[in-house]
């Protein structure tokens, strides 16, 4: 194939000896390096130290922080909850996104519906968390109140009880993020020219066949982007959970995820621990999780997108 080896195929008037391009890129790169990359490297380093960050200097302790974490129930709780958001939450979000995208394709009010569904994504997570808490409050919450009002008292639950609370959190996240992923998937679906569906209709394809034969293959690349975005979003999710527990009272430990624990252990807490080393170690684990999963997702979804 026409793969360039030593020769450059790019047009010369646009090709530059890095220097000119460098001037365009340097400011963004410098800030990016200073604010994101350098601190990331530093975090890895701090994770090998013990450090309170007030007046003392970091003391190298090797893998001690990691060893400590592996033995901590709190850490494993946070870790498992993060994975639960990622996997269980992900499955639900993507299932709904797909179903909605398919349904919305043929609905007249689709722009309006999409706008409403997307809305939680621009609302401050604090506000969402407040609303979600009001909804799920045990006795005077909106949901239980509603269920009672329509005569479904048997369906009422203590939504925030230890066995349910995290599912309630995930439900909240699903409510927020489904709109986001619907939007992205719809964009992919909208790009598919109508005539593919018309051709499929002429051949008498069922909706399921259309989904698997037309929609999925032709949105594969969008799906892969969406999956990567989900991995990042799921692992990063902090604000909603933090605010769900409220300010002034720490979020209930039964809702902690990795980022919440980083915050609680290293940054702030009602009874602060100031364990910067340990917080960094958790952050490094988050980072590794993101890295491994993104690579994994990309590998799984590597099948090339179809050009059309």
């Amino acid at each position: 194939m026409g793969v360039p080896s030593t020769m450059d195929v790019s047009p010369p008037h646009l090709r530059h000896d890095g220097r000119r391009a460098g001037a365009f890129i340097a400011p963004a790169l410098a800030i990016y390096l200073a604010i994101i990359m350098a601190p990331t490297v530093a975090t890895v380093w701090i994770s090998f130290t013990e450090w309170r960050g007030i007046g003392d200097s970091p003391e190298f302790v090797g893998l001690e922080n990691y060893r400590h974490l592996l033995k901590s129930d709190t850490f494993w709780g946070s870790f498992n909850r993060t994975l639960a958001i990622l996997i269980a939450g992900g499955l639900v979000v993507f299932f709904f996104s797909f179903v909605f995208t398919m349904l919305l394709r043929e609905m007249r009010a689709k722009r309006f519906i999409r706008a409403v569904l997307f809305f939680p994504n621009i609302v401050p997570p604090v506000a969402l968390a407040i609303a979600w808490g009001v909804l799920l409050a045990p006795r005077n919450g909106l949901l239980n109140g509603f269920l009672e009002a329509i005569g479904l008292e048997s369906a009422t639950r203590t939504w925030l009880a230890p066995d349910l609370i995290f599912r309630s959190v995930i439900a909240g996240l699903v409510w927020i993020y489904t709109g986001f992923f619907i939007t992205i998937l719809m964009a992919g679906v909208d790009r598919i020219p109508k005539h593919f569906y018309e051709a499929a209709d002429l051949e008498g394809a069922t909706p399921r066949q259309k989904l698997f034969r037309v929609t999925l293959p032709l949105t594969w690349d969008v799906l892969s982007v969406a999956a990567v975005l989900w991995v990042i979003t799921a692992i990063k999710t902090f604000e909603f959970i933090y605010a769900f527990g409220g300010s002034g009272t720490d979020p209930s430990i039964s809702t902690w995820t990795l980022p919440v624990q980083v915050y609680a252990v290293a940054l702030g807490n009602r009874s602060p621990i100031f364990a910067l080393g340990q917080g960094s170690a958790i952050a490094v684990i988050m980072l590794a999780l993101v890295g491994v999963l993104v690579v994994l997702v990309r590998r799984i979804m590597r099948r090339r997108g179809v050009e059309f």
Binding site: A26, P27, A30, I31, L33, A34, A38, V41, A42, W45, I46, T49, W51, R52, G53, I54, G55, D56, S57, P58, E59, E64, R67, K71, S72, D73, T74, G77, G133, L136, A137, P138, R139, N140, T158, W159, L160, A161, P162, L164, I165, G246, S247, G248, T249, D250, S252, I253, S254, A264, V265, G268, N269, R270, S271, P272, I273, F274, A275, Q278
Partner: protein, 479 residues
Amino acid sequence: MTRKRDGGRPPWLAFVTALLALVLVAAACGNDDDSDVSPTTEAVSESESDAGDGSAVAPEPEDDGGAVAPEPEDDGDTPEPEGEDGTLRYFSMWNEGEPQQEVLQGIIDSFEEDTGVEVDVLWAGREVLTSVRAALSAGDPVDLIGFEAEPLAGALVNTGETRSLASVLEQQIPGEDVMVGDVIPSSFLDIYAVDGEPHIMPYVVNSSGIHYDGRRLTELGIERPKTWDEFIAASLAAGENAVQHDGLINFYNAYWLYWLIVRHGGPGAFNAAASDPTGEAWRSDAIAGAVEDLVELVESGALAEGYEGSNWPIAQQEWANGNGTFNINGTWLASETASYSSEGFEYRLLPFPTTEGGFESAEVYQIGWVVPQAADSPRAAQDFIAYALNSERLAGMVDVAKNLVPRSDIGVPPDLQDAVDMLAASPAGHRPYDGVQGDYPEYWIEFMLLDDQLFFGQISGEEFIDRIAAKTAEYWDSQ
């Protein structure tokens, strides 16, 4: 606990700092019209003052852009020059709008008027130490911090970040003919003393116990319970939702077991169990008794339905509205629920029920001030402490904020009388959570996790003891 504190800086810091400086210099050179973005402190404070009304912003202490954070002195007793401007930087745990904040604001206003010292106060809320840390790391002065004594002890006092307040005891209280040491009982101060010298000066002394509406108990014809058995019986007699509890706050859940351990094993028993490197201290009879009692409560059905999923402050709200009888809480509950409690609500407090052959002591939950080593104006801070402890001024905490104060010569409203009596009658005092929260904050989290499982009936008493013993040994092993 104290760690060595040399000037050593982590190697990466130079890297990050250099990059940041580079970016700033580049930004400053690149945009002539944007010259405010310069790394010099001058420009920074300029931008601060044109961004704000200026009053709350303290001028930067250093004039060097790459300023090194002022190193705290090792020796807290060395007298230091006052901050040149006579400004007192005060970080407070209260949020704007809370009654305690309003009281303190009043004190601050008159202090400024009387002394000419400007008080720059930050109403930071309960995560005040996060702000303190931010300020200290940035080298901003922090002269006075007001917060709960336990986290102060754990985060600052035990690690040597605070100054001794011994000299404050000999300071005269402005407007009164007494010294601070005369009115603040040393029993309070001794709890957090370092080398015999006080480091935390309390201005509120709360406690905890079981709250109820006096009227309701009378209506129900239930006698005020004294012992644990009586309490369980009373709860069962009180009908639905007898014990309201906000189970989503882990440290409210911990009230029960901690109190039961302290009752069964005496003050310090919980702390001793937590700090036993082998974890075997958890297998004592006292703790077994405490766990057994807790399981009894959980299994009795006295706890309001859904307590494990109650998001604070819902349970206490319902309790105050008359749906429920008992609520275990701090003595601040009266002030927290005042705005929505049902009419004619009669706030009563039950000291935590006693157990057979057990101990009696009261929780001393102090809220106080510390003066950090890094303070710029430690003298002004001490002056403020003495000034605020004046009985008339402190009375606001009682009358308006409905909190107890360390001075016994200030009268209390009826809502708080039970608490005062409880503290007075108690033969001994102990720290909140027996000091476990303050002394071992990381361990505390792991403890609460297991305690929740026990309190929610997810594990049996035996399982709990086995697990917490193992956890304790593991924790100390990794320290």
